[in-house]
Subunit: 335 residues, 2 copies
């Protein structure tokens, strides 16, 4: 009670006096945020999370949840209601042989809070011209929009863009576009416009489920959110990371209730089954996970809370491990 009183006083009191009454020269504020990149080492691979920005989904995009559960879950995670901040992440993998970007963000196609992948990549020490391989989880515009600039020109001139064949076939099909609902229709046009320059130059390539894209990165079929949605199993020197794309959109809701779907799930039933299956496996195996819509940097672990419920455990900020050779030396390196 004593503490309670003192703290109430501290926060509530009219502040009549203070100890440093002398006026100080004001120091200009510096209202910039730290750049949105974050790096980890995975075996011999260096992985850099790059944030494209964020969206604010309205809770009305959630399906299969009642108001009481919804409010409770948002409140316990201190997430905005009805506007849930949702990060848009991409991952840059330097395998030592290839520089691989997994998804490309939304670029400026969407809204002013998105489109910062290139800036964050540059801040992190890489240039888009160095990227030789781009791997796409699925063809929604917040994952492929960043492939082209506002004029439709490719932003990664030297990169081969690898797209799951089922996914590419679905979104580039005029027939599918013709029969799509008005809600989903714009996605087809955006997908075609984005793919166009890479298709024209022969840099757009497709692959079958389970393919190894580059040594250490293998496609994992995780259909449902979209018909060809694909996760990527990354492994180096026995260390593993599953980059799972859009397995979870609303972290405050879908870890606790994996049966909640989103209105942009093309096949919600399949998306739910896939999410439940992958969450169960990741929790059991304690595999490191990265997700495109998890709170930036979106890297962490899945913990099982019950047989049907999970929790997200983000990694802690840490410096890079000490370099093993001269070439790798740099600042902010773990001693």
């Amino acid at each position: 009670m004593l503490h309670h009183f003192r703290l109430a006083l501290a926060f509530g009191a009219i502040l009549l006096f203070h100890l440093s009454p002398c006026a100080h020269a004001e120091v200009p504020k510096v209202p910039t945020q730290v750049p949105a990149y974050y790096r980890i080492q995975l075996g011999q691979f260096e992985i850099t999370a790059l944030q494209d920005g964020f969206t604010e989904h309205d809770t009305t995009v959630l399906q299969n949840i009642n108001e009481t559960d919804l409010s409770h879950l948002l409140s316990r995670m201190f997430v905005g209601n009805p506007k849930m901040q949702t990060s848009v992440n991409t991952y840059l993998i330097n395998t030592g042989t290839n520089l691989v970007l997994v998804d490309a963000g939304a670029a400026k196609m969407a809204r002013p809070t998105l489109g910062y992948v290139l800036q964050n990549m540059k801040d992190s020490g890489y240039d888009p011209s160095q990227v030789d391989t781009i791997i796409i989880t699925h063809m929604h515009s917040d994952h492929i929009g960043g492939l082209i600039d506002a004029g439709g020109e490719p932003l990664f001139p030297k990169a081969t863009v690898w797209v799951p064949q089922t996914e590419s076939d679905f979104w580039l099909s005029q027939k599918n576009a013709d029969v799509a609902s008005a809600y989903i229709q714009p996605n087809f046009k955006k997908a075609r416009d984005t793919a166009a320059p890479y298709l024209a130059s022969g840099q757009w390539k497709t692959f079958k489920d389970g393919s190894v894209l580059v040594p250490g990165i293998q496609a994992v079929k995780t259909h449902g959110h979209t018909p060809g949605h694909t996760a990527y199993a990354v492994e180096s020197k026995g260390q593993k990371l599953l980059i799972w794309g859009d397995l979870v959109h609303a972290h405050s809701i879908q870890f606790a209730h994996p049966g909640v779907s989103m209105e942009f799930d093309v096949n919600p039933k399949q998306a739910i089954a896939t999410r439940k299956s992958i969450l169960k496996m990741m929790a059991a195996s304690k595999t490191l996970v990265a997700g495109m819509h998890l709170p930036f940097p979106g890297i962490g672990h899945v913990r099982a809370e019950s047989k049907v419920s999970y929790a997200w455990v983000p990694i802690e900020y840490a410096p890079m491990p000490k370099a093993e050779n001269k070439e790798d030396k740099g600042k902010n390196v773990k001693k």
Copy 2:
């Protein structure tokens, strides 16, 4: 099962083939981490978390917990066992009138993973010479060590250092040093050495519990970890933040079991009572909290899991809110 098989394949298989067999020019790795600063807006105040670095506490520093609970709690938070990574954070507050640093980190006094406050401050856009006020939560060397350089010279030449009177009296007392245990003895010498140049110049000042240090920042008595341990209630335009110093050291343990103490608690019983009281208040009032040993940036909320157990909910990475006037404009600003 299908998914399980595919993922096991993805991670376990000998990779006999891949789709991009052509050799690429290797891109040099960039083994630097993003700078360890992070900024939030609190009313009119701009608050920048600055990491000094991290320590790795052995689990043997924990008291009042059995092996089973300990292993379970560390495992569920994916924290190292027996070495728990523990962040050391400080907070820089630009009130518009004062530039206030809350704690100064450990500098190079301790170990090579500490002592980055000045570098992170500079990366964040501020210079130590701009700091006019330093407020100390308590006089352990990972909180005051950063006040001086290796030669004992003050690193914040223009700052007044405000220290809770009880705390200053305790650590600067030769009598207390004389009767202290061998374990705690070095703390007294470090405290004296660190305070010395500021005492000599008249920049070391003490205050009583509950004092307002600068408008909007008030001391909150939270004794126990040390005899004068003090938290700071920060408030601007109705927005509140409690910078609670060392109320929690081992986040994976002490939120769930607030009755667990640390071997460096000067008065463990009082430290536990204080922690329980503050956690209860913070959870009930949903007040934003910052902690010197919480995972960087160490800002977030406390959630009550039961009447005696809590969870830590870190804030999500977000850009700074849009500037309200010309002077405040900058990059990475929320649109």
